[in-house]
C-alpha cells in the first residue's frame, strides 16, 4: 500500500505583515518546506486560499505562486473551501500522491488579510456564508458564532466564563511558539474582563485574522531521498464532508455533522480509535466551534465540550491536548493557511520538534479544518512511523 509521507514542512510567522505581499508570504513557506524535504522537486502545487480575490483583487493563485516560486510549468491550482481551504488543498495533494499520478505534491496555504481592514474584511468573510439569505441580513461569521454560542449556553446552562478555557489553553501554548502572533499566556481575569464583540462572544472567543503561509511537501515513501534526515511522518487518514451552507437550514444547529463524518472516515481509514489520538488540532476560529468539534468527534458528549476546556483536559498534559502550538486563537487565523498550519504543527509534534510544547511520546494526531460553521470539514490523521 502506498504510504504518503509528509517530507517537508514550512511556515511563516503569523501576524500583520504590512511589508510582505501574498506571493512573498507563500514563497517563504514553500522555500522552508522544500529545504526541509531535502531536495525533492514537486510536480504539482495545490494552493489553499480563502479570500485573495476579495482582499487582494488577486485570483489565479496556482499560476502566480508556482511561477513566483520558480516552479513555472508544473500543475498548479487553487483549492477554496472558506476556512477549510488549507485542509482541502492538503487533501487534493494527498489524493494526487496516493493515486500515483503525482510523485511529489506541494501544498501551500496562504492568506493576506491586511490588504484590507475593518468593515471590508468583515464583508469579505461574510461571502463564505449564504450570500442571499445570511450575509444580506448583515450577518457575519462572528455574529453567527455568537448566536450559536448563546443558544448553546442557554440549552446547556453554561456559566458566563464557561468558554474561558479555550483561550487560556491557546495563549499558554502560543507563548513558546516563535511563529505565533500572540506569545503571552493570559489569566482568567483577562478573559472575564475582555471587551464583548457580539454577546456572548468576547474578543478572546475569536481568533485574530492575520497574514501567514504554511507549506507541506508530500511524497511516497519509496521516493524519499536516500539521505532523508527527518523522522518519518505519514498521512494515515484523509476525509472531507459537507453540510448545509446556511446554518439555519440544519436540523440541529448545535451539532457539527460534517465534523463527525469526516473525522470518523479519516479515523476508519487510518484504523485509529479516539483513545489512540495523542493530540487534536481543532479549528478554534471561535471557541464555540472548538467545543462543538470536541462533541461531534466524540471527545465529549453533546453539550459538554466546554467542560474539557474548563477542566484542563485539553492542556498539554491533559487527556486530549488541543491547539498545542497556540491554535488559531494565539498562533493567529490565517484563513486558507489555517488548515496547513495545523498539519505543520502536528507533524512537528510527531517528529518531537515541538520544543517546550512537546507532547511526550506523541504518535498520532488529528487535524480538523472547518469552512464556516462546519459547512465543510476536512480531517487528517497524521501518524509517526518511527
Amino acid at each position: 500500500m502506498t504510504e504518503v509521507i509528509i517530507a517537508g514542512i514550512g511556515q511563516t510567522e503569523v501576524g500583520e505583515h504590512w511589508e510582505i505581499g501574498l506571493r512573498d508570504l507563500a514563497l517563504d513557506a514553500i522555500q522552508d518546506a522544500l529545504k526541509d524535504a531535502g531536495g525533492l522537486k514537486p510536480q504539482a502545487l495545490f494552493v489553499g486560499n480563502m479570500l485573495a480575490p476579495n482582499l487582494s483583487n488577486q485570483a489565479h493563485l496556482g499560476a502566480l505562486i508556482a511561477d513566483y516560486a520558480g516552479l513555472t510549468g508544473i500543475e498548479a491550482v487553487t483549492v477554496e473551501a472558506a476556512g477549510a481551504s488549507g485542509g482541502a488543498a492538503l487533501r487534493q495533494a494527498y489524493l494526487a500522491v496516493k493515486s500515483g499520478m503525482v510523485d511529489a505534491a506541494l501544498v501551500v496555504g496562504v492568506e493576506k488579510f491586511t490588504d484590507k481592514v475593518g468593515a471590508e474584511v468583515d464583508e469579505a468573510l461574510a461571502t463564505a456564508s449564504d450570500s442571499d439569505f445570511e450575509a444580506v441580513q448583515g450577518m457575519t461569521p462572528a455574529s453567527q458564532a455568537a448566536l450559536l454560542m448563546k443558544r448553546y449556553m442557554h440549552e446547556n446552562n453554561v456559566p458566563s466564563n464557561g468558554f474561558a478555557g479555550f483561550a487560556l489553553t491557546a495563549h499558554a501554548n502560543g507563548a513558546a511558539n516563535k511563529n505565533a502572533m500572540f506569545r503571552k499566556a493570559i489569566k482568567p481575569e483577562i478573559y472575564a474582563k475582555a471587551e464583548m464583540v457580539s454577546d456572548p462572544l468576547n474578543m478572546f472567543d475569536i481568533a485574530p485574522n492575520a497574514d501567514g503561509a504554511a507549506a507541506l511537501l508530500l511524497t511516497r515513501r519509496d521516493l524519499l531521498p536516500r539521505d532523508y534526515k527527518n523522522p518519518l511522518v505519514k498521512i494515515a487518514g484523509s476525509a472531507a464532508s459537507s453540510d448545509t451552507l446556511a446554518l439555519h437550514d440544519r436540523k440541529d444547529l448545535l451539532y457539527f455533522d460534517a465534523a463527525q463524518i469526516s473525522a470518523g472516515k479519516a479515523m476508519k481509514q487510518a484504523g485509529v480509535i479516539l483513545d489512540q489520538i495523542d493530540l487534536f488540532e481543532y479549528h478554534d476560529v471561535f471557541s464555540i466551534y472548538a467545543a462543538l468539534q470536541l462533541e461531534a468527534i466524540g471527545f465529549a458528549i453533546k453539550g459538554k465540550g466546554w467542560e474539557l476546556a474548563a477542566n484542563g483536559d485539553i492542556g498539554l498534559k491533559g487527556r486530549i491536548p488541543c491547539a498545542t502550538m497556540g491554535g488559531m486563537k494565539a498562533r493567529g487565523f490565517a484563513g486558507g493557511a489555517a488548515g496547513v498550519y495545523q498539519v505543520v504543527e502536528a507533524a512537528s509534534q510527531l517528529r518531537s520538534e515541538a520544543g517546550a510544547n512537546q507532547i511526550a511520546g506523541a504518535k498520532i494526531a488529528l487535524a480538523q479544518s472547518l469552512g464556516g460553521p462546519a459547512s465543510t470539514a476536512l480531517s487528517h490523521i497524521i501518524q509517526s512511523l518511527d
Partner: protein, 136 residues
C-alpha cells in the same frame, strides 16, 4: 451593484415565499427545489405567515461594509411557525429586550445601501416583536 441578484429574489425578500413539498407536505424556506425532508422535487410555491419565534440572536457592533449605518443591530435565527428557520435582523425592538423564544413577525425594511446616492438600496424582511405597538 448587484441588481439582478437582488431583483430575482423579490418574492422571498418581500413576500416570504418559499415552497411546500407536494410529496411530504414539508414547508421550505428559503426555496431550494429539492425537499430536504424527503429528497423529492418540491417546486410548489408557498407563502409563509411571517410569524415565528427567536431561536437565538446577537447584537452586531462591528458591521460589515454596507451595514455600518444600522449598527448596532440585532441579528437572529427565527423559527417560523410552519417549521423552517431563517436568518433575519430584528427591528422595532430595544436590542437588550430580545429573548430566546420571543414571538416575532415579519416586516419589510431597508437592508443595506451601496453607499452613494445613486447606489442600490436593498429592501427585504426583518422581524419585530409580535406585540409591537407603534409610538406616534
Amino acid at each position: 451593484m448587484e441588481i439582478p441578484r437582488h431583483w430575482r429574489l423579490k418574492k422571498q425578500r418581500y413576500g416570504l415565499v418559499g415552497e411546500v413539498c407536494p410529496h411530504c407536505d414539508h414547508k421550505i424556506f428559503p426555496p431550494r427545489d429539492v425537499c430536504p425532508n424527503c429528497g423529492d422535487e418540491a417546486k410548489e410555491q408557498y407563502a409563509f405567515s411571517g410569524k415565528g419565534e427567536v431561536y437565538s440572536y446577537t447584537t452586531v457592533y462591528e458591521a460589515p461594509a454596507g451595514y455600518e449605518a444600522n449598527a448596532p443591530y440585532t441579528v437572529a435565527i427565527v423559527k417560523l411557525d410552519e417549521g423552517p428557520m431563517l436568518t433575519a435582523q430584528l427591528t422595532d425592538v430595544d436590542n437588550s429586550a430580545v429573548e430566546i423564544g420571543m414571538p416575532v413577525e415579519m416586516v419589510t425594511r431597508k437592508m443595506r445601501n451601496d453607499g452613494d446616492e445613486r447606489g442600490l438600496i436593498v429592501y427585504g424582511y426583518k422581524f419585530r416583536p409580535q406585540n409591537f405597538v407603534p409610538t406616534t
